[in-house]
């Protein structure tokens, strides 16, 4: 028996790419998010408003045992910087009593809801390559690239001024790289997040229906699933 999540708690957000500098931003450890992930290897920016990092600027990170004397974490110790989500993944775990901070970087601050959305489909996949060789008696495939795309079904709504604010917002985003956050369960922070481009925002009109606007987004980089 599973515990379903209904569409009631689904929220889709995006952020425009005007970033703000930050320094010495505290980070906190993320343990036990998924089975098999080593504790004290994943840290995220504590302030949830500063977790969507500008990937045009490589952030720097520092660690400290006493909170006073800080040393830079060398890039050779870093497995991955996850810009959407503001996370640092280390190759080896730190001791539990280490403090970690993002000493410099830039973040996107403004998250906007995609409104009037009624359905989404997120395709989260790995491109795989056939690596079957002589002596294999069965096909062998191997994952190579992360790949994702999404479609969002929305309808067009007019505000009290007679304008279409979402159409204006989406028009401004065409061709712009955006951070997209798909909250599957906003109350519990269960979400998918990544960078992408707004590929299309069509208008469909037919008699007997409201004006529909399906939005398609293509990924640019990894899509991350978060439980916290």
């Amino acid at each position: 028996m599973v515990t379903p999540i209904t569409g009631v708690d689904v929220v889709i957000k995006y952020t425009e790419l005007t970033s703000t500098s930050m320094t010495n931003e505290q980070m906190s450890v993320v343990n036990d998010e998924f089975p098999g992930v080593t504790n004290y290897t994943v840290y995220r920016i504590t302030n949830s408003l500063k977790r969507y990092l500008d990937d045009s600027v490589v952030p720097t990170f520092q660690k400290s045992l006493n909170g006073t004397d800080w040393t830079t974490i060398p890039s050779s110790d870093i497995e991955e910087i996850q810009y959407p989500g503001g996370r640092l993944v280390l190759k080896s775990p730190l001791n539990a009593d280490y403090y970690v901070k993002c000493s410099s970087g830039k973040y996107f601050s403004m998250l906007t809801d995609i409104i009037y959305a009624k359905a989404i489909k997120v395709s989260w996949k790995n491109d795989t390559s056939d690596v079957t060789v002589f002596t294999n008696n069965a096909r062998v495939k191997y994952p190579v690239l992360d790949d994702w795309s999404a479609t969002i079904d929305t309808f067009v709504a007019m505000d009290e001024l007679g304008d279409f604010p979402q159409l204006d917002n989406l028009k401004a985003l065409r061709g712009q790289k955006v951070v997209v956050v798909f909250y599957l369960d906003e109350s519990n922070d269960f979400r998918l997040e990544g960078y992408g481009y707004l590929e299309g925002a069509d208008i469909n009109m037919s008699p007997g229906d409201v004006i529909q606007q399906p939005i398609s987004i293509v990924g640019s980089g990894k899509l991350y699933m978060r439980l916290v």
């Binding site: 028996m1 599973v2 515990t3 379903p4 999540i5 209904t6 569409g7 009631v8 689904v10 998924f34 089975p35 098999g36 992930v37 009624k118 359905a119 989404i120 489909k121 997120v122 395709s123 989260w124 996949k125 790995n126 795989t128 079957t132 294999n136 008696n137 069965a138 096909r139 062998v140 495939k141 191997y142 994952p143 992360d146 079904d153 798909f182 599957l184 369960d185 519990n188 269960f190 998918l192 991350y224 699933m225 439980l227």
Partner: protein, 130 residues
Amino acid sequence: MVTPTAAYKGALYIGPTEIKGVTNVRLTDKDNTVDITALDDTARIKFPTIQDWSLSFDLVAVDRTDSGQLALFNAKANQTKSTFKLTLDASGTHYYSGDGYVESIDISASADDVIKASVSVVPAGSLTYI
């Protein structure tokens, strides 16, 4: 008279962990065949080369608390090779098992529904039936 096996007796595992909420399992176990029909043949002749299999299934509901689903999501996120086991009976005596990679997880949500997913697994070796 045969005795059919009800699907509820089966289960799908990733590693040692059962994935809950699974439905519409489609396990394709086939031999890749090539056409070796030649001029002197009067009928088409094909010849098997390697085993080829794939697995796809749906999740009736995405459940962030189920350890099997979490293992599945983690295998996708980290491109980890995993052992998938499809048992056909309640005792787990008869099953298919093979190593594979999670190729895709398509998650869909709508305002009047629960959040669902469709999963595709590609092979990383042979599929065995016990």
